[in-house]
Point group: C2
Chain length 243, copies 2
């Protein structure tokens, strides 16, 4: 009898309702760039990151809590926010002991969608904190949903590749009957030694690099364990989980 | 200036609303098995295949039109239908000069969803008729949406691989800024010489073969051009298009 927990990959926020999120670990994945920014901010000493789903709410909440309002819409800092969605902005000088209210086009929206769909154990993942993510999902011994944020509900490769990277590391601990997971792991295993050059083909790479020149962001977001901390969602905030 | 039409791949019926289907060729893809059954039936002389989205309607319409009601729900022939959803059932002895009313879990449902989303030029595709599909999309010089039926809105590999096979053949004629298409073509190009052995890992393979023993169906559905005809949807029917 197969007693391992199950692992599934949801390739788009529009597919998240197909999976049972209750009593599972839900990993929110938005490699370019929300979950990389969250990892960087917490790694550099932020007390918490509060993900919110509208620019208006980010501004309102930052005033109330006297903290930084940050984020983007369509890749650029939205009006009224103080900082954008680049992990490189959140140095310890800026963020240490501070709280960040963050709103982004895809990642923070997906987190709220997961909550609406019954998720009760949410973490965020990206290459920057892959080891922490893998350790946690193995230790919890629950079902896992790797939830890709994509771009406005469309599939994207960077989030799928991160799902594949996690599967590649943890698959022996899970039962996996899921074509999305099979495809994700295959794509990752074929490109793990050249992620950055493969990324040059992605639609989001073109959006971020050709339009805004964020090539250093891309490199940061694809580097394993450069902000190896575990953001766990609890009481409306993402905070570093220390076990 | 880039004047080629665009090509996109929709990996699930739940994503089809993200694409502009108007004035585009929409290729409905349900390799296991609806679009393979449609190709086989038309190749073997069926006058038309009428895709409908409920078992009840299939039965009602077949009585009214004095034709065969066929299809499946969850992989097995639904009660009240005369035939299932296996391409091997539709020999010329059975189907020549007859009309088939077909209802399936995924493929026929997606076709109606595409119509609801404004599609006005719909064909169906599978490995069995890949050359006809490729010739048509190149000749039309319109945008193309490769629409995968998946399984109950979940991503599946067989439909994605067929999308990749089409892209592999026609890509020079289109502008492709679409991570789904990039992933599909990569997966296909890496497995084109061993599709059948790769298919043994798919969830739908297990559903069809382990549960129902449909291994010959799988082989048929993955064979290129063994029913090389073009089913074009017009006035509520799929009929062989002869140009």
């Amino acid at each position: 009898m197969d007693t391992k927990p199950s692992l599934f990959t949801s390739l788009s926020p529009a597919l998240i309702n197909l999976y049972d999120l209750r009593n599972a670990v839900v990993v929110i994945i938005d490699v370019f760039r929300a979950t990389s920014t969250i990892a960087a901010a917490l790694q550099n000493g932020a007390k918490a990151v509060i993900p919110v789903d509208s620019v208006h709410l980010a501004i309102e909440m930052s005033k109330k809590l006297h903290c930084i309002a940050a984020g983007e819409r369509d890749g650029v800092m939205a009006e009224g926010l103080q900082h954008g969605n680049s992990p490189l902005e959140y140095t310890s000088e800026l963020i240490k002991n501070k709280t960040l209210v963050l709103t982004t086009t895809n990642g923070t929206r997906l987190l709220h969608l997961a909550l609406d769909n019954g998720a009760d154990n949410i973490i965020t993942g990206t290459f920057c904190n892959i080891s922490s993510v893998c350790d946690y999902v193995v230790k919890e011994q629950k079902n896992v949903i790797l939830a890709c944020a994509g771009w406005k509900d469309k599939f994207n490769l960077e989030d799928t590749l991160f799902a594949g990277a996690v599967i590649n590391r943890v698959k022996e601990h899970f039962t996996i009957h899921c074509d999305s997971s099979l495809a994700a792991e295959y794509l990752y295993s074929q490109h793990k030694s050249n992620l950055l050059s493969f990324a040059k083909n992605f639609t989001h790479f073109h959006r971020l690099v050709s339009r805004f020149g964020y090539v250093e962001d891309i490199e940061y977001c694809l580097t394993e364990d450069n902000a190896n901390i575990l953001p766990l969602y609890m009481d409306g905030k993402l905070m570093a989980y220390t076990g």
